[in-house]
């Protein structure tokens, strides 16, 4: 029974809890929300053991939803989406705990929105019906808009609107593409169905339209990743979002773009995705993302903007990993997605803590605080090292696999991407130095208080993951290997057959 109901429980429970939080008096809101998100985490943990790596799509529940249009409520998890779900349920309780001190006004609303956001996110990762996927994609957008728009910083409205319209514009095109796809497949096979399995089984007949459909999917996901030209909403959204908002935005929302590529764009349009021109284009954009993201991050005065641009760089690695389409590179991409969620999430928590103490996000507002707040400085150092990809931490394992996997397919691109390793040190270390080392010359920094037990409780799980994945990633790699191998083989096989027929 567990395997049938778990995903639906994961989807439904947060919404129920959100309603509950709204009824509770303001003072209790955050505690109830924390409890609810912990329950959510507890529900999702058994997924880790009961998941058989080799058994493809699991925990599947398939119910008719709108039979007239061939829309079904199908949810399921495989090696790729399992870790995204676990990452979500892992980050949400931490971000709720992390915003205890940060959110002071309208707490009920904030925590309710966070819980609704959780179900939206999990919905995106588990849905195997394109219509359900699209609905969840939009459901996830609205709470995030309010979180940035209401509890954000000074230019929050601009950032929230920009975030919303940018993503919404992309997703509308995707909706059109989904509809056209379903209709085309329906015409050819007589059955109109939004089911992912059905659509991937009846590809091939799309002909030249496949380019446009892929283009629409690409745009929607590229905006979300964000890839180079579509990234400008990210720094604004991050700077203005509250800590919890930034953590979830960076930790999970960015992964929807890359997850979308892995789950939908590649398998549905293999021949287009592997078309030499498209490949070259995407790999180039990914490379630009890596180097450009790093270089621009180097000169950011605002610490959160710096982390935002570093996310562009990290996800450039993911895109390179996905498009190299070898077993190592895809697994590396998945691993970077998880690691980025953890280390960038931790970075945003620390940035939030610094903001809570000094109400300033500017790097130069700090300096020499390692003397005053040794614990915070130590945590910031470890997390920065993980974000730079120091071997022994989680960052290295992911990026190393991506480079190793991408090298056979794109030797030159892999070497350029490897320079990302240098650029990473060039943007994060100077920032780290300006914040915690250098002379303690500003009086306000003298009486900063060190990490409170609550803040330590937020950071310890993340630091534990950083070290654990860095030193012993085998269990994760083992669980995602079959799914990654299946994806790589099926996409390459379909691409070969369809290019032949076209």
């Amino acid at each position: 029974m567990y395997s049938q109901a778990v995903l639906t429980a994961l989807l439904g429970w947060p919404v129920v809890a959100a309603a509950g939080v709204l009824l509770v008096p303001e003072r209790w809101a955050k505690h109830v929300a924390l409890a609810a998100s912990l329950v959510e985490f507890v529900i999702s943990v058994p997924l880790w053991w009961t998941f058989q790596p080799a058994a493809g799509m699991q925990f599947v529940l398939d119910l008719p939803w709108i039979p007239a249009w061939g829309i079904r409520y199908t949810v399921g998890v495989d090696g790729i989406s399992l870790f995204m779900v676990l990452l979500t349920t892992f980050l949400v309780p931490l971000s709720v705990l992390g915003s205890y001190a940060y959110i002071t006004t309208r707490q009920r609303g904030f925590y309710a929105l966070m819980l609704v956001l959780t179900s939206g996110m999990i919905g995106v990762f588990v849905s195997l019906d394109l219509f359900l996927f699209y609905v969840m994609w939009e459901v996830m957008l609205i709470p995030m808009y309010f979180i940035i728009g209401v509890w954000g910083g000074e230019r929050r409205l601009y950032a929230a609107i920009k975030f919303f319209i940018y993503t919404f514009f992309g997703s509308l095109l995707m909706l059109v593409a989904i509809l056209v796809l379903v209709l085309r497949v329906g015409q050819q096979t007589g059955l109109y169905s939004f089911s992912y399995a059905y659509l991937t089984a009846h590809l091939g007949g799309l002909g030249p339209a496949a380019f446009w459909l892929f283009g629409a999917f690409f745009l929607a996901f590229a905006i979300k990743v964000p890839m180079f030209p579509f990234h400008t909403w990210l720094p604004d959204a991050h700077v203005e979002a509250p800590t919890a908002g930034s953590v979830i935005l960076a930790g999970v929302l960015l992964k929807m773009g890359t997850y979308g590529f892995l789950r939908f764009a590649l398998p549905l349009f293999p021949s287009v995705a592997l078309h030499p021109a498209i490949q070259a284009g995407i790999v180039t954009l990914a490379l630009i993302g890596i180097v450009y993201g790093g270089l621009v991050a180097m000169v950011q005065p605002d610490f959160k903007k710096l982390i935002a641009y570093s996310s562009v760089a990290h996800l450039g690695f993911v895109m390179l990993g996905i498009w190299a389409l070898t077993l190592q590179s895809v697994q590396g991409a998945l691993l970077v997605m998880i690691n980025h969620g953890i280390s960038t999430g931790a970075l945003f928590f620390l940035a939030g803590m610094l903001y809570e103490r000094r109400h300033s996000r500017l790097i130069d507002a700090f300096g020499g605080i390692a003397k005053v707040v040794p614990l915070l400085a130590a945590a910031l150092t470890i997390v920065s090292l993980s974000s730079i990809g120091l071997p022994g931490t989680n960052g290295f394992v992911g990026e190393f696999l991506v480079l190793l996997g991408a090298f056979p397919t794109y030797p030159r691109a892999a070497i350029v991407a490897a320079t990302g390793v240098i650029v990473a040190a060039m943007y994060l270390l100077p920032a780290l130095q300006r914040v915690i080392y250098n002379p303690l010359d500003k009086p306000e920094n003298e009486q900063l208080r060190d990490l409170s037990p609550r803040e330590i409780a937020v950071l310890v799980p993340l630091l534990a993951c950083i070290v654990w994945i860095g030193v012993y990633p085998a269990p994760i790699l083992r669980r995602m290997e079959p799914a990654a191998k299946n994806l790589v083989q099926s996409v390459r096989l379909d691409a070969a057959t369809f290019t032949a027929t076209r």
Binding site: T232, V296, Q328, Q433, P439
Partner: protein, 660 residues
């Protein structure tokens, strides 16, 4: 088939695990009870001594077996991805045996010295935590059984040197020096990384045990791929072992505490590059171009660094450039295929360079106490403020003289044997490839300069009139025993070090060479040893050059003419050029650092990101839609007449369409 592992060898993990445990304990103490100095020093030094004991045990066990293949112990699966199966495995063979002995041995002595040197420092526990962590990463690097595990150690030591250089982080210069060291190392690590990608691409594995036997089959000798691999590996080495062009970080690294300079920037970390080239002997053997580059850059660096050392006034900077120069020798050695000679020089250099650094440490320590007592704000490291210290610090002076004689290459001390072997090998190689004659020449010139600047250092520091200042003079006296003890130990090692590998020319057994034979037998077979006559001639030339350098220094330099730093006239001409390190730092700054910063701030961020992408595309479309709205509103003038006209025009259009 790896031999059955005797108990001591299966405990190989104990060697790196001890310093790690020490680092964790000291780290906790640093955060919890920074004042518990006794416990910290006990843990810090104890852990190192135990590690040395464990290492010695392992080496003895290895010696009994004397296997031809390295003993690999696998602990857990690290990266099991498809056909890439990297395990966290340690390996012990003759080469890594030598290295772990050097690292733990010299490391232990330096830890003891640090107890005295860092006594007054508030960050005492944090210092020992970092130092232990460094030894852990160095041991991981040396004992790693595959490229990625070695890379963990490789970047780990880079991290520790960043933490230790910037130890007194409240001064911006120290923090900058640490950052510069890490970034430059990272550029080197990029090379190492790309080499790993190439190796995996062509051999399908990253374990030493798999790559090297397959090397000759997978890579055509002298082919482009193996040359690329060796060059990228060497790029990594230049970053880590401070060779041209990535050496600029080492002199700045002197901002860290002196024992750190001794341990990291003289004895262990900087030799990682030499170890890497020795470990990847089979690859370098396959690529003559690669080896030639290594030897060439090594010789060039040796000479170039020696020239700069001539005119430096900071005692530690002289030693820093001397290290860069001596590393150049080691690369010249391993570049010519004489891996044993390279490793031998590495070992002896570890002894006398550590001695020199620790000696300068006790000098600086004494100078600090003197200036501290009189609240004078003078540079405690500037030789112009020293002079005639032998009278106050006899032990340090004597021991440093021994090290100076060793480094100059005066027989029978260690330096003579190791440096002579490298020059001999280079000369012998010259017969086969004339380029090596040039390298040999450069090496010899560097030897001359080495003797000169070391003697200059000794004269200015320990002889001639004392320039420290009257009241400070009374405060100057010998370092406490906890500091001079390690100095004596290193002195003994420097004297006896030569015995490790006395060449047959002098009736020695060349024990180190035979010991390393299983690892290095696949290396480039240097030309047959020159006839005894040329060998003696070489030895004579080396000794002559060394003597010339020292006597020349005595004759040319007049320590009495020196004035304290405050009053010293600015240097001019060639002297200024050398003092200013050939303006290399400024060159890098102008060519690389500033343009990259300008490019990313002005071009990438302000123009591309702000104006082009954000301004044009995003806000641009927003503005466009608003403009469209405005045009629409202009149309609504409110006059009915205008609406009617538009109405009729519409009707005409519709009817027109229907009619046509």
């Amino acid at each position: 088939m790896p031999l059955p592992l005797l108990p001591p060898l299966t405990l190989l993990w104990v060697v790196p695990a001890l310093p790690l445990a020490g680092s964790v304990v000291n780290g906790a103490l640093a955060l919890a009870a920074p004042r518990a100095k006794r416990a910290v020093s006990l843990v810090g030094v104890g852990v190192l001594v135990l590690a040395f004991a464990a290492a010695a045990l392992a080496v003895v066990a290895l010696a009994q077996l004397h296997p031809s293949a390295p003993l690999v112990v696998r602990y857990w699966e690290w990266l099991p991805v498809g056909d890439l199966q990297v395990a966290f495995a340690l390996q012990l063979d003759q080469l890594s045996a030598v290295m772990i002995l050097v690292v733990t041995g010299v490391g232990a002595l330096i830890h003891v010295f640090s107890v005295g040197y860092m006594r007054g420092d508030p960050g005492y526990a944090r210092y020992f935590a970092y130092l232990n962590l460094f030894v852990f990463f160095m041991l991981t690097l040396v004992l790693g059984a595959s490229f990625p595990v070695m890379f963990v150690g490789w970047e780990g030591v880079g991290l520790c040197s960043y933490l230790l250089i910037g130890f007194w982080f409240t001064e911006k210069i120290n923090a900058d020096a640490g950052k510069k060291a890490f970034v430059v190392n990272r550029i080197g690590d990029f090379g190492f990384l790309v080499a790993m990608l190439l190796i995996f691409r062509h051999t399908g594995s990253l374990d030493f045990g798999a790559v090297f036997p397959k090397a000759s089959a997978a890579f055509p000798a002298g082919g482009p791929v193996v040359t690329a691999i060796t060059l990228f590996l060497f790029l990594g080495c230049t970053g880590k072992s401070a060779q041209i062009p990535l050496y600029t970080w080492l002199p700045d690294a002197m901002q860290g505490p002196t024992p750190v300079s001794a341990l990291i920037h003289a004895a262990t970390m900087v030799t990682a590059g030499v170890y890497l080239v020795a470990r990847c002997g089979p690859l370098f053997a396959l690529s003559p171009v690669g080896s030639a580059t290594v030897a060439g850059v090594g010789a060039l660096t040796a000479l170039f660094a020696a020239t700069i050392a001539l005119k430096q006034w900071d005692i530690k900077r002289v030693l820093a450039y001397s290290t860069v120069s001596q590393l150049g020798y080691m690369f010249l050695g391993v570049g010519t295929g004489a891996y044993a000679a390279g490793i031998f020089h590495l070992t002896t250099h570890a002894f006398f360079k550590a001695l020199l650094f620790l000696g300068s440490g006790s000098v600086i320590h004494a100078m600090h106490r003197a200036y501290h007592a009189t609240h004078a704000h003078e540079d405690a490291q500037d030789m112009r403020n020293m002079g005639g210290l032998a009278r106050y610090m006899p032990w340090t002076a004597a021991l440093m003289w021994i090290a100076t004689l060793a480094i100059a290459g005066i027989p029978p001390l260690a330096g003579f044997f190791s440096k002579d072997e490298i020059l001999g090998a280079a000369f012998a190689r010259g017969a086969v490839r004339p380029a090596w004659y040039v390298f040999w020449g450069m090496g010899l010139a560097a030897a001359l300069l080495t003797a000169f600047y070391m003697t200059r250092l000794m004269l200015y520091t320990f002889h001639g009139p004392n320039r420290t200042g009257d009241r400070e003079r009374e405060q100057l006296h010998e370092a406490p025993p906890v500091m001079t003890g390690p100095l004596v130990a290193l002195g003994v090692l420097t004297v006896l070090g030569g015995a490790l590998n006395i060449p047959p020319l002098f009736g020695g057994g060349a024990r180190l060479e035979h010991w390393l034979a299983p690892v290095t037998d696949v290396a480039l077979t240097p030309a047959p040893d020159a006839s005894p006559a040329t060998a003696w001639a070489l030895v004579a030339s080396a000794v002559l050059v060394a003597a010339l350098g020292m006597v020349g220094a005595f004759q040319l330099l007049r320590p009495e003419a020196l004035v304290p730093a405050r009053l010293a006239p600015p240097a001019r001409g060639l002297g200024r050029l050398l003092w200013k390190k050939w303006y290399v730092d400024e060159l890098y700054d102008a060519i690389v650092v500033r343009p990259v910063l300008w490019l990313s701030r002005e071009v990438l961020w302000k123009i591309v990101d702000k104006r082009l992408v954000d301004g044009l595309l995003v806000n641009g479309t927003a503005a466009a839609s608003r403009a469209l709205g405005w045009v629409g509103s202009r149309l609504q003038t409110g006059e009915v007449g205008v609406y009617v006209v538009l109405f009729v025009v519409g009707v005409l259009a519709v009817v027109g369409a229907v009619v046509r």
